[in-house]
Amino acid sequence: MKVGIVRFPGSNCEDDAFHAVVYQLGEEAVMLWHKDHDLQGSDVIILPGGFSYGDYLRAGAIARFSPIMSEVAAHAKNGGIVLGICNGFQIACEAGLLPGALLHNDVGYRSMPVTIRVEHANTAFTSAAKVGQCLTMPIAHGEGRFAASEDLLDELESNAQVLFRYVDASGETTVDANPNGAMRSIAGICNAARNVIGLMPHPERAVDPILGSDDGLVLFESLLVAAHA
C-alpha cells in the first residue's frame, strides 16, 4: 500500500501520519506537496492535521483551493480512499468531499484524550474494527463541532455514514463525553460512497503504547485490508 500525505502550508501532523504508516504499519508513504498536481501513484490519500493557512477565515477554507486538491477530488471520485484527520477533515468538508461543516467548539480549544465508538465497520477505515468498539485517542482542536441541518443528519444516520461518536468510559454518548458540542456526538463520518472518511480525533497519535494508546492502529490496519482488496 502506498499512502500519499498532503503537505499544505501550515500542516503540522504530516510527519505523525508518516510515522504511523511507515514505522507502525510498515507500509510505504510519500509526502505530496500542495502545489503539485501529482499523487505519485498513491492508493490512499491522507489530508493531515494542522492549521493550513493558519485556519484564518475558516479552518480548511483556503487549503481546499490548493492545486493538489483537484487531483484529490478526482481520486475520490474514482473510488480512491481519502482520509481527513482533524484539519484534513475540515478541508474535506470545505472541499465538498464530505457533507456538513466543522464549527468552533462550544467550549474553546481542547487538547485531551477522548473515547470514540465505532458505529459501522463497512468502510476502508473501520473494517478491521468491530461495531461498538471503543477507541481512546487524543483530540486537539478548536473547530471540531460537527454541524449539519437536521435533514442532512438524518440522512447521514440512515446511510450509515456516521462512523465515530464521542462516548464515555461505558461506551455511551453523553453531554460530558462530547468534547466540542458536536451534533449527535459525531466525531467522524464518511461520504455516501464510503471511500472518503473524516474524523476530528487523531488516530495517528495513538499507534504506540508508550504514548498512552495504540487504539488507532486498528483503523490504519483497515486501510491495509482495503488497499489490498
Binding site: L57, C93, E94, G100, A101, L103, V107
Partner: protein, 85 residues
C-alpha cells in the same frame, strides 16, 4: 478601473448553535446590561477592489463570498456597502 471599498457581513445561519453570541450575551448580562436579548456574532470584511463601476465591484465581491468567504453550509452573507475610494 475605479477602486472601491466593499464591506460584507458573514453571518452564522439561524438555528445553528452560536456559542460566541451566547457567551457575549451572558457577559453583557454579568456586566449589568440587563436589557440585552440575543447577540449574534459574525464576520465583517472590508475588501478593496478595482472594478469599472459600483455594481461590478459588488458583483465581484458576491462571487468571492460564494467561492471563498462564506461557507454555504453554515453561513449567509450580505453586501453591507460599496464606497468609492
Amino acid at each position: 478601473m475605479t477602486r472601491f471599498r466593499v464591506s460584507v457581513h458573514i453571518i452564522p445561519r439561524r438555528g445553528l448553535l452560536d456559542p460566541q453570541g451566547k457567551a457575549v450575551t451572558d457577559a453583557l448580562h454579568t456586566l449589568g446590561f440587563a436589557g440585552v436579548g440575543e447577540v449574534h456574532v459574525g464576520r465583517h470584511l472590508v475588501i478593496e477592489t478595482g472594478a469599472k463601476d459600483a455594481s461590478a465591484a459588488e458583483a465581484s465581491v458576491r462571487t468571492m463570498c460564494e467561492r471563498l468567504l462564506a461557507n454555504p453550509v453554515t453561513e449567509d452573507f450580505e453586501i453591507a456597502g460599496v464606497v468609492k475610494e
